[in-house]
Amino acid sequence: MTAYLIRRVLQSILVVFVSAVASYVLLSFAPGGPLTGLRQITQSSRFKITEEDIARIRASFELDLNLPVRFSRWLIGVPRGPLVIGGKEYFGELVVGCRKPIEAEFLNSRGVLDVKVVGCKEEVLLKDIVGRRTSRGILFGDFGLSWSILRDRPVSDLIASRIPKTLQLIGLETLLSLLIGIPLGIYSAVKQYSNFDYIFTTLAFMGTAMPSFFFGLLFILIFSILPKNAGFTYLPAALSESIRGYTIPLIGAVVAGSLKDRTLHMILPVAVLTILNIAGWSRFIRASMLDVLRQDYVRTARAKGLSQNMVIMKHALRNALIPFVTIVVFTIPGLFGGAIITESIFSWPGMGRLYILALGSYDYPVAMALFFITAVLVVIATLLRDVLYTIVDPRIRLT
């Protein structure tokens, strides 16, 4: 067991590293980037932007450094300058990037003008980057500074302000899904092919059959816009709390930012997420319950004359829940990552929306931080799942 754990932890570290490299490279090759629009400005005559300005802007985003150097500075905070051993500097003349690249325009295959870097006018040497501000490295818990969402403020501040909202949303949703989804799944497995099972199966499929943004929009239409226009009780559909007070028929006046206000705002997004989640989870429970109910030991339990409740709760359910552990454990990364589409639809200020915002405004330090934390959580969850398996099912041995 110990040997297994050590091996798995080492593997996990490797996986996190690989995924960090992969996402970093992916982001740096993604189209756009923080310099989008700069080129247009240089071409217009109203603004005078010199080559020197561009070089300075590139330097402030570290875009003048080569990818491996940039990555290493982001991950562990080195190199910060030449290597100093015993008062002497080494590798000071090493080229680590390019301050002013030579760009050439060419026609690409679609006949559109494109720009390609063909050479370098002025190189960046290792001794030049001394004194540049840098993070201590993401491995040591420093996520660096935001580029555009909260300019020059630490990414960790941004994350800290968003996390409670996502925890609220996903936490409540997970709890409700467990409380509703498991009993529903059990019941429809025990009563397989009954009317309840058919109706419930249909409802569950409906949940998965709609794109979640469409589902969210339908909910807003049905529970917010239509009743509001008709003068009935409606639910607020955007943000996590209101800016000013409002009055809802039957519920009465609501003070902005009060508990009542925040609760009302949570109902719709939580409902959408819960319904989508129950659809998947209860199907899963139903399938594994059906599988277990056909096993010999369940038949034996029945033959011994145990009551139906006893057979289901004691013999079947416990075994049926084993594969479910996998799914529940993987809500951990979700608690952090949030729900991208649902949060966008309801303008919920959580992590999922932060992610879209970060990608859209090319705030790569924020996007990378989210990527990295999610990867770590996923790996931890995977490990936790495998260990939990041995606890809930003694037949499984880890080797």
């Binding site: 249909t202 998965t208 059959a209 709609m210 794109p211 929009l217």
Partner: protein, 332 residues
């Protein structure tokens, strides 16, 4: 002296059951699942409509009449007398024609993605399960990791990269022409669709690989495999002749669920501004293009939203029916 056996009498008295092939058994069970059967018929109807698209629509998909936007259902195009069955969209294109053509493209994308992802999944799962050891370790860690990272953000980055640098992945001209003919698109537009297929399939093969591996692991220890090996069968022979055919049941079910998933995933990509781009109609991009009218003209998003919903639901039911039909432990 021997008494001649009277075969006629024996035959008449014997209780015989007509022999049924496995396929017949599965079909019989499938037909019993009424909802699955109804879904299958519904899907055949939808497929037929999309195949007949050029014959039942009277407008071209990109034929726009700028003055006639937001026409109601059943409005008549005055100069030519053609009917807009579903009215027109926000820039005056016939909505019915677009929905029908979109179905052709969306369903082809879903089918192609499913086909590719099942093939890749089968191969990876079979190799991983059959050989075990470090090959298995690496492949499965990779699969697990891919399954658990939030796919949406990754899809976003990858599809935006692919769509803006179209030549990043070279696609043979012949493939584009064939796909283009199926979707009724020019090879240039078909490239866009093929890229989305690649992106969707790139994430879709994971579940198939896991299912395949699981089945192979248990099959590997069976006596008939040992027997085959002792007769001198090669690994390739065993995998393709014994393993894969025996492990097809969960793969078929997975494929039908993937079909449902891909129809929805294409829409989700379109919602986030990626996926197949506008002049080419797909259910997903029609839905996302009209979502802003949800609150004052709700039929605009509902028209493309409904077929997504129906197809996904139907594929789910078919998958459910197949699961029950293919499960040998279930009695008739």
């Amino acid at each position: 002296m021997t008494v001649p056996v009277q075969m006629d009498i024996i035959k008449a008295e014997a209780i015989t059951i007509q022999e049924r092939s496995p396929f017949q058994v599965v079909m019989m069970r499938f037909i019993k699942h009424r909802l699955a059967m109804a879904s299958l018929i519904l899907m055949i109807v939808i497929f037929s409509i999309t195949i007949l698209a050029p014959y039942i629509t009277s407008f071209k998909v990109d034929e726009l009449n700028v003055n006639d936007y937001f026409l109601p259902f059943g409005a008549v195009d005055q100069p030519t007398g053609r009917v807009h069955y579903f009215g027109t969209d926000n820039i005056g294109r016939d909505y019915f024609s677009r929905v029908v053509y979109a179905g052709r493209i969306s369903l082809t994308v879903a089918l192609l993605s499913t086909f590719i992802s099942e093939i890749v999944g089968i191969l990876v799962g079979a190799i991983s399960g059959f050989y075990g050891g470090w090959v298995d370790s690496i492949l499965m860690r990779f699969v697990e990791f891919m399954i658990t990272i939030p796919t949406l953000p990754l899809l976003l980055i990858i599809s935006s990269m692919l769509l803006r640098n179209e030549n990043l992945i070279p696609i043979p001209e012949g493939v584009l022409r064939v796909v283009g003919n199926v979707m009724l698109l020019s090879p240039k537009d078909a490239r866009n669709a093929v890229l989305i297929v690649i992106v969707l399939a790139g994430f879709g093969w994971l579940s198939a690989a896991q299912l395949m591996r699981g089945t192979i692991l248990s099959l590997r220890e069976q006596t008939f495999v040992e027997a085959s090996r002792s007769l001198g069968a090669t690994d390739i022979w065993i995998i393709f002749k014994h393993m894969i055919p025996n492990a097809m049941a969960p793969i078929i079910v997975d494929a039908s669920l993937n079909l449902a998933g891909f129809v929805v995933a294409e829409a989700a990509l379109a919602f986030l501004g990626f996926g197949i781009q506008d002049p080419i109609p797909t259910w997903g991009n029609m839905l996302s293009a009209t979502q802003t009218y949800m609150f004052d003209k709700p039929w605009l998003p509902l028209v493309p939203g409904t077929p997504i919903f129906i197809c996904s639901l139907a594929f789910n039911y078919i998958g459910d029916g197949l699961r029950d039909a293919l499960d040998p432990r279930l009695k008739l």
